[in-house]
């Protein structure tokens, strides 16, 4: 089976019904995509398929309908996405385990809604859990990134 991940083609020999999460983590060693719950309750495994945020624990390999983007495809330390720059500016991460998923979810939000209110952010981000309780800084970072992206 062929997958396009962050612009590169990968051939994987894994069962059709394997969740994308585990194909990425254990098949392709893309470990930025995290296992948290396996039942779409925590958002740690969030990636994009054709730009839309999905819970990769709920997408069977055979059902992948487009190009996959993980946090590495969003930005790198040398070329940060505006959201990542805002995340660093606000020093959001604590343990950091959920943050790849948070950022991918926030990217989906800003693509659809470039100027979200607090309520918009809460509605879009409440599927992504953070046990370190970084929620206030996530909210602030999303607003900052939204402003930065408007200015470009």
């Amino acid at each position: 089976m062929d997958l396009t991940i962050n612009g590169s083609r990968h051939n994987v020999d894994l069962p059709d019904d394997m969740p994308l999460l585990w194909a990425l983590r254990d098949g392709l060693n893309i470990t930025s995509v995290k296992y948290g719950c396996g039942i779409a309750q925590c958002g740690a495994c969030t990636v994009h398929i054709d730009g839309e945020a999905v819970r990769s624990c709920q997408v069977a390999l055979a059902d992948v309908w487009g190009e996959i983007t993980t946090i590495e495809g969003l930005g790198t330390p040398d070329a940060l996405h505006a959201l990542q720059a805002a995340w660093i500016d606000h020093q959001v991460a604590q343990c950091g385990y959920c943050q790849s998923g948070q950022i991918m979810q926030a990217a989906d939000l800003l693509a659809r809604n470039p100027k979200p209110t607090d309520e918009d952010i809460d509605a879009a981000m409440s599927g992504n859990l953070c046990r370190c309780g970084t929620y206030p800084r996530i909210r602030a970072a999303v607003h900052s990134a939204a402003r930065a992206m408007q200015e470009v």
Partner: protein, 750 residues
């Protein structure tokens, strides 16, 4: 200065870690047990000037030997060394380093002392000065109890100063200039003519240099790094997907394991039939790991599915079958035979309550899961008699011992690599995932295996925060509480830890469990007749350390009681607490939070506020919670929190930790609860163990004060007071006194 005299090379190396608190008594005896764990791994021309500073031609590495579980400790520890070493944080690398008794934590010893942390008297201070001695003997390399900062505050700055002066001495020897004429800046020794010799260029000479004196530490006014907010050293990696947790370890040929243990917690496995599982494509093995079964497969998903088709024969449990039975057992502990501690007994409570009109209450707190975002995990490889383990552990030296015991090999055949931790909150001080990974590795010789706990295993098998009951009887006269008799009862954390193999050393059964009445007996209120008792129930479910430990339930009991007493006394709950407080820093945090929240003015219509105070882990903390009744239920709108840490090393990180502690406590107070039916835990994942989500997260306003005498840590102190402040706010809003956590059982939250 030099009471320590001239060090030999070996003595000098250990001296830089040992001087904190060690010069008074027993230096030689306990220094002899210390090693510098870095020297073994050095190549020619490289230097480990103390156990915390490694210099090679490639760069400068600071060892930050505490678990980075989100609290930012790697950055703070590196800052302590960098301040004195004269390097910038962007010039250094950091490593957790190997398990070693050199990285003992003296701070955890203090938490068990029988003195309130507000006691600055001579005996208490002398005991604090001696804290490192038992820590060294026990090889206490532990991250917990909010102790890392105050443990490291002197010794890691001193490590930086010793390394700096050693480098200067090496430069002096090379150039023939007196060391006094040399300065240091940004990773280099600077000569009088402004020539710079990089530290990395001096490593070989510095390694052969002895210092006569241990240098003085710089005063606070001279600090460049400490006292100012720093960017976390891990923040870029954690924002770009590069941070490596135990579950991200990948090795050539790696296979993936998933675990299933008995639904009867701690119960044994009598047998299992894995024949169906072994026929599944991709399944390598199904292993008996003593307390359960691990399926090993091509990937974690296949391993998890294989567990579902194994048939298990679990031994029956020894504890009550349902939640009510557990609380009955805890309630039965309130008797003289099960009294564990009575660390406060002032005046004559019995006499004062005998003929008085009393107020009484009984409070309950449930078992709680830690629910770290990263489920428990560890990677392990056994090869040629050597066992390597990669784990996010809060106790590397204990992990090494437990891995060796589980594998049946000597401790020096075990290597532990401590990764970043995807949350911990006490859970990763447990050793189960290390023990099980070791048992897997022994049975899969030559094959690296990554063990992952399915979320369901993580949620439903413990260990948990103890369920607990708090009871009080009190009386007020003339607007003042004159007698308070408050008790707490729960299963013992320390008893369980010892049995599970998590203790640094065997815990004698006759010692009281200091966690049981934590933050109940030592609150800084002056009440004429005041008695605090801790009762130990029979062992029930496995219980362990959960962020803020005993304070997490006891602060709820104590501070809701204070609200009840203020009502009975017809006093404002802030004003009454202030009048009773005997500790000035404690009063100051309560005054601060009242000012921040505008306590004196009424909240808006439909809103109400509650207040609570907690002295926990040496940090006086006060919180005010404001809630609003909405159509969809109660919303927590704002939390104001003030805390006194003595010395604020990194203000923005302190703010982050207070926010984190508040949200963690709020999550539990609103909705978290572990219950049992038919001897098994009812909750399994985030759908039935609801934790705080973003829409529920309030605005949190923090203030750090620096009035108290000692520097203190901040990982836990934000947690205890939020539950009682919320319960007191609910009372103010609804008139209903909720005495059971989670509050969401009896009132609807949005």
């Amino acid at each position: 200065m030099s009471r320590l005299g001239t060090y030999t090379r070996r003595g000098f190396l250990v001296g830089s870690v040992a001087v904190a608190g060690g010069v008074v008594f027993g230096v030689r005896t306990y220094n002899a047990r210390l090693e510098n764990p870095l020297t073994a791994g050095l190549a020619p021309g490289e230097a480990a000037l103390t156990p915390y500073v490694k210099i090679t031609a490639d760069g400068i590495t600071i060892i930050t030997p505490r678990a980075e579980m989100g609290q930012g400790i790697h950055t703070t520890l590196a800052s302590l060394v960098a301040e004195e070493l004269d390097v910038e944080l962007n010039q250094i690398g950091i490593e957790h380093g190997p398990p070693s008794s050199a990285y003992f934590n003296g701070g955890v010893v203090e938490e068990g002392y029988p003195f309130p942390t507000t006691d600055n008297g001579a005996v208490a201070e002398f005991a604090r000065a001696q804290r490192d001695i038992p820590a060294v003997f026990l090889g206490y390399q532990i991250t917990g109890g909010s102790t890392s900062t105050h443990d490291a505050y002197v010794k890691m700055r001193r490590a930086g100063a010793v390394a700096r002066e050693t480098l200067k001495a090496a430069a002096a020897a090379r150039t023939g200039l007196p060391a006094m004429q040399l300065t240091t800046e940004a990773g280099a020794v600077v000569l009088p003519d402004k020539t710079r010799i990089p530290y990395t260029d001096l490593a070989a000479e510095a390694a052969a240099t002895d210092l006569a004196d241990v240098p003085e530490l710089r005063p606070r006014g001279a600090w460049r790094i400490l006292g100012k907010s720093q960017d976390r050293l891990d923040v870029v990696d954690k924002t770009t997907g590069r941070a490596i947790y135990a579950s991200d370890i990948r090795l050539p040929g790696m296979r993936f394991g998933a675990l299933r243990r008995s639904p009867h917690l701690g119960g044994s496995l009598r047998g299992f039939d894995a024949s169906d599982a072994l026929e599944m494509p991709g399944v390598d093995a199904v292993l008996d790991v003593g307390t359960g079964v691990v399926a090993v497969a091509r990937d974690t998903w296949t391993a998890m599915r294989a567990l579902d088709v194994v048939s298990y024969d679990w031994a029956p449990p020894t504890y009550p079958t349902n939640t009510a039975g557990h609380f009955e057992a805890i309630a039965a502990a309130f008797n003289p035979d099960q009294l564990d501690s009575r660390q406060r007994d002032e005046g004559n409570v019995e006499a004062a309550l005998a003929n008085a009109t009393t107020i009484e209450g009984e409070y309950r707190a449930p078992y709680l899961a830690h629910a770290t975002m990263e489920p428990m995990s560890a990677a392990a490889l056994m090869q040629d008699g050597a066992l390597q383990i990669w784990a996010g552990t809060q106790g590397p030296t204990v992990a090494r011992r437990e891995a060796a015991l589980a594998a049946g090999i000597p401790e020096d055949s075990v290597t532990i690599s401590t990764t970043l931790l995807g949350g911990a909150f006490g859970r990763r001080g447990e050793m189960d995932f290390v023990q099980i990974a070791a048992r897997v590795a022994v049975q899969m010789q030559g094959t690296p295996v990554l063990l992952t706990y399915p979320r369901e295993e993580d949620t439903s098998r413990g260990p948990y925060r103890p369920a607990a009951i708090g009871r009080f009887r009190a009386t007020v006269a003339d607007g003042v509480p004159v007698a308070v008799d408050i008790s707490t009862a729960s299963p013992s954390i320390m008893a369980g830890i010892d049995a599970r193999g998590g203790a640094p050393a065997p815990i004698p059964g006759f010692l009281p469990d200091f966690t049981l009445a934590q933050a109940l007996w030592d609150q800084p209120y002056g009440i004429e007749n005041y008695r605090v008792s801790g009762y130990k129930s029979e062992p029930l479910l496995s219980v362990g350390f959960w962020r803020s430990v005993g304070a997490s339930q006891n602060s709820f009991f104590h501070e809701c009681m204070m609200d009840e007493l203020a009502l009975a006394a017809d006093r404002d709950p802030v004003e009454m607490r202030l009048a009773l407080m005997t500790d000035a820093p404690s009063r100051a945090v309560l005054e601060a939070v009242a000012e921040m929240a505008g306590w004196g003015s009424a909240p808006a219509t439909g809103r109400a506020r509650g207040v609570a105070f907690a002295l926990a882990f040496g940090v006086p903390t006060a919180q005010i919670v404001e809630i609003e009744q909405t159509d969809s239920g109660i919303m927590v709108r704002d939390v104001w929190i003030a805390a006194d840490v003595g010395v604020a090393l990194d203000p923005r990180n302190l703010d982050a930790q207070l926010i984190s502690g508040v949200n963690y406590g709020l999550s539990a107070a609103i909705g978290e609860e572990i219950t049992l039916t038919d001897s098994a835990v009812d909750q399994s994942n985030f759908h039935d163990y609801p934790v705080l989500r973003m829409y529920q997260a309030p605005r949190i306003h923090t203030r750090i004060l620096e009035n108290q005498r000692h520097i203190r840590g901040i990982g836990e102190p934000g947690t205890p007071a939020v539950a009682p402040a919320l319960a007191n706010a609910v009372f103010a809003l609804t008139g209903e006194r909720l005495r059971e956590l989670p509050l969401g059982k009896n009132v609807r939250f949005a």
